[in-house]
Amino acid sequence: MTSDLDIFVGNTTLIDEEVYQLWLDGYTVSEAVSRRLRGGLLERSGTSVSVLQSDTRDHFRTFQMLERLLHSPPRLCQQLLFQIPPPRQAALIQGYYAFEPALARELLGKKLSKGTKKELDEVSARTGLSLRACRRQFDNFKRVFKAVEELKGPLAELIQQHFLLPPPLARDYAAIVFFANSRFETGKRRLQFLSFGDLAACAQHMMGHWTQGAMTPEAAEPDGDVPRSFLQDLKELKVLVSDKDLLDQHKSLVCSALRGKISVYNEMETNFKALSRALVNVGLKLPHPRDVRDFFVDLVEKVLDPCRSDHWSLGDLRLFLGSYTTAPRALGGFRHQLLWERYMAGISACLLRMYHE
């Protein structure tokens, strides 16, 4: 006696969080059943395997029906088909859009294209996530990316509005979109020590300091891109390293400010010119799409690595960057004060986040 048809429909849609997680993790019904069995559910509730199977199938079917709506969360809240209490809806959305940082780290800076999707099986092998879960998360990235691609305004807020995500998750998605837009190279071996969290934070700092939205709320350009004009202007900063006088003055200003305040004063003094050149050059490369990929590599190789080898502490770095940024105010021949500080604010925040002692 086999059950051909076996369904349960509640007026309030029944959601089992444990089964939802199993579904999100990409398990099949039978895998999910065996996982639930391992969890000792049978003993606790004194039921039979067939009941568990039927229950799991039922939940999976519900989730499949819900998936269509989850692709557009505001619809989930407006639809009439499933009566789900709002807190539950929020939990469903949050669960669906949650992602594994390891996966996101792998995908950062890659094009969210079909080609990348095909490589997901390797990613799946590396991260230990099931391919199905990888695909769902990849599709989520792509969907969010597409949805906000053409929109104007602060990225994180847009995402929050369109996908009803909790603010921290929306910010992470904003970072992913930002990376997908600017395509920084993050896959290099040298950069592996940076976690998704580090890079997402950097993206947020860059967006926060550099993008249009940061300057005027009703910005004309989407936030995913650093505005062209800003990048073009960065060329003006070249004078800080190309003009020998300015460079020397800058150095003496910083040195006088930091003397006795940081433990690595001598090393700083020796390295100042190299550091300053590196910091400015990173900015000079930003307007060139081909060179922009090296942004993080340059920061790590030319700034962070030397500091680390000299055993700078994070505090040292912070103090240095602080006076390094503010010192040009006293530089007579330097006219791009605002531009400089805007640029350095972003860079400093990134560096501080990226510096692992």
Binding site: M1, T2, L5, I7, F8, V9, T12, L14, P85
Partner: protein
Amino acid sequence: MPGKLKVKIVAGRHLPVMDRASDLTDAFVEVKFGNTTFKTDVYPKSLNPQWNSEWFKFEVDDEELQDEPLQITVLDHDTYSANDAIGKVYIDIDPLLYSEAATVISGWFPIYDTIHGIRGEINVVVKVDLFNDLNRFRQSSCGVKFFCTTSIPKCYRAVIIHGFVEELVVNEDPEYQWIDRIRTPRASNEARQRLISLMSGELQRKIGLKVLEMRGNAVVGYLQCFDLEGESGLVVRAIGTVCTLDKLSNTSAFLPACNSPSKEMKEIPFNEDPNPNTHSSGPSTPLKNQTYSFSPSKSYSRQSSSSDTDLSLTPKTGMGSGSAGKEGGPFKTLLRQQTQSALEQREFPFFTLTTFPPGFLVHVGGVVSARSVKLLDRIHNPDEPETRDAWWAEIRQEIKSHAKALGCHAVVGYSESTSICEEVCILSASGTAAVLNPRFLQDGTVEGCLEQRLSWQPGFFSIGSEKGEVDFFPQSQDSSSLLGIEEASPPGCGFCHIPYDELNMPFPAHLTYCYNCRKQKVPDVLFTTIDLPVEAIVIGKGCLIQARLCRLKKKAQAEANATSISNLLPFMEYEVHTQLMNKLKLRGMNALFGLRIQITVGENMLMGLASATGVYLAALPTPGGIQIAGKTPNDGTYEQHISHMQKKINDTIAKNKELYEINPPELPEEIIGSPIPEPRQRSRLLRSQSESSDEVTELDLSHGKKDAFVLEIDDTDAMEDVHSLLTDAPPPSGFYSCNTEIMPGISNWTPEIQMFTAVRVSRLGNINLTNQTLNKNFNDLCENLLKSLYFKLRSMVPCCLCHVNFTVALPEDELVQIAVTAVAITFDKNQTLQANKAPTEKSQQRASTDNEEQLQFPLELCPDPLASQPSLPAKEVLEGATSQTGIPAAQRATSIDYSSFADRCNSWIELIKLKAQTIRRGSIKTTASLDKTSPLAEGYLRHRSVPSCTNSTVSVVKMTPLSFLPGAKITKYLGIINMFFIRETTSLREEGGVSGFLHAFIAEVFAMVRAHVAALGGNAVVSYIMKQCVFMENPNKNQAQCLINVSGDAVIFVRESELEMLPVQPSTVVSQPTSSGGDVTT
């Protein structure tokens, strides 16, 4: 011509993409009512069109208003080819036709397509202006209220309960018309949906006419069913109970607890008594006739205006069908009479109600049922559905005579059903024979009654408790307040007393003196189809008891088929009864409530499923055990086996008693001073043995005269039976289940509810099936289904599954379909414990009543006929009523009145058993938590807050098969919801197979019900029922089709907690912005 229907199409959202090229849709809307159609403009290139149309106005007959649904079709405009339909919305505008219900229908409706399901939503506003034409009741029956609820609706008071009303209309099924061969499935489905909508509208109107004729103003317990007879047609039939209801517009006058005056006067029902009487117990004035503002005209038959289409329906002459003519006359005269015999004169003294005002039910005889096997033939002339009428009339007549045989003049908890397979149809009717208090049945006395009730009731119930206390069981633990109960014939047991004549019993039975009052005789087992009366004294908790049975039958044609079915029926009835009895005893209980026996016919088998709620009634004797006897006593190992089984059974009984907290007072018989049955009977109590139960030939369902059951194991079949008895697993801890409205023994419900529908279709597999394997399979199917429900709902523990309603269908050879609808309600365990501890001293007996139930009939407490003597003890009332039944006698029996095949009809009366024991002297203490709520100020929520269209929040709509919502008060009934949907697919696999298909469809049905309720301004559906779920599949063709029919009452409820905070000032109340669901919003 008294109505103007106004419709406005506001907007659409989430429409499907109809133009692949642009990924957009050019949508417009057609609004059709009757033969008039309006169109909106095309809103180009949008999935969220904003039509914001003008008001489309239809000037129509109120008759048309009642019959026709408003039909809204959303289409995609296509310049070059035909416009594509996106989907439809049918809106029943009936709720707008009576003044007390909704005033506007406004909200988002799912756009439904029978092939694609829900495709987006549309926002619609509908209003009706009824002209103030005094003659409007002649042609139509606008204004008659309909309720699915099988009790007096919460915010009403029953002035008179008139009685039974029935009607049926027939038509050809569009699915079987020649045109169906050339039209698309969609067109065919829509024709069917529309036709059924029309037919139910017409049926309702006709019922309404009968109601007016009987001078009632409402139908309660309205049950409408469809019989899909295939080739031979489509029958829509309905039964109900006609009442004159009075709105409790100022409950405050009656209930001291509530002091919020109503500002509802504007909305007085058209026939409401304008001077609602209060505490004054002055001389009564008879109910005035002028309260009925309409003129009850006899000429309600009208000629059809041969209006439209080839779908022209059924009798256009109201009198043409049914027994209206016969009923109409007697009723008019009846209403003038005050004697009980009046009731007996009625053609069918039936009541579809299952819960009654206290005092209404005097005695309960037992279950009466009748079945009849019919061969369907084509309905040649839809205007004269006499055959179907005659069939039902025959069955009703039989029920009536069964009731008479039990000494009862009425049948309560009455229902009718059919099971159809090919051209064979089993018609079934069942109910509970009862003796009723006639005072509710006529006007004239009503006013007096009311006065009487008010003045007399406090004296009766609450000596010592506050004056004006209206609670049936006073909360007060003060024993003095309970003295009255002992003196009077206790309400907690009166209904158990036998109504029939002891010396002239229709069947052999055992009687004992009532364990509660020791004055009247009671049977030892009581089976009923009604809900547990509120006043019943129950020990412990109840539980769901099911009997399940399969019988193979040969495939046959026509008459031969009908014959074999007729021959099988009595055996099935017998076995179902045996199983019920065994399972009842196994649980140590002595009464069944809500009994529903369903016999389903399939190609090659019959299935029987009986569900009921078992309880231990304090008034009835303790049930004996079950004893097993072997046929071959010499065999040692066999003996051992038998004794092993016996032990298992005894253990189960003991365990069940503990589980359901059944611990009746164990009293030595000596205490009892009252006459005791002859010694023979007493000794039997101890020995408990008897002859075999194998009396199929005589069809004596009594199993002999004994206290304990003896199950004789003479072959493997019997062994299987015993095994199957023991396989019924008790629900996991924390779960209880029942199929009645309220669970005896649990009263502290918390507001969390979860209504659900579960459907399973199983293949019975191999062809060489025997009855035994079938039985086992069927049993496993039901048990597994229950188990999976418990598992699914485990997060709600402690909870109770209430109103568990199983429906069995045999859609094809070897396929069994079971659908269950029920509601899980959580309750507070701690409070239960407290409640258990409290009433220890005086008695263990506890009347478990539901808060809601108590409030329900605050005014109808045991009316006394002699209005002028408030001090008259209730005992006399009850005795007076029963005097004609003579001396009770010990009896218990069942008989099968099995007529020949000639009339293809057989039936059985099923009843009662009796046994003697004792009752302890002393007062009965009853506990029931006091309903704290103050009734709602009516004005609250009148003005439906934010129309759902203006914001994006989806309001929560609760659904429940019960007539109440725990922890909430229903403040307004908005009209009945009666919806019929067809869904078909030609891409079954793509939609997730049969499970995916049906899962989506049921979810869609729920969604559409909720949307309609929300549009009416309601926040819940009560008395929800899925009357039909016909599922057909053809996996080879990748196709499936399903028909679902649901109904219920749309209501507005307010949480009790909110009630308490409710401001007294009406102005602030009215401006309350959110709907009372409270937990709404997104």
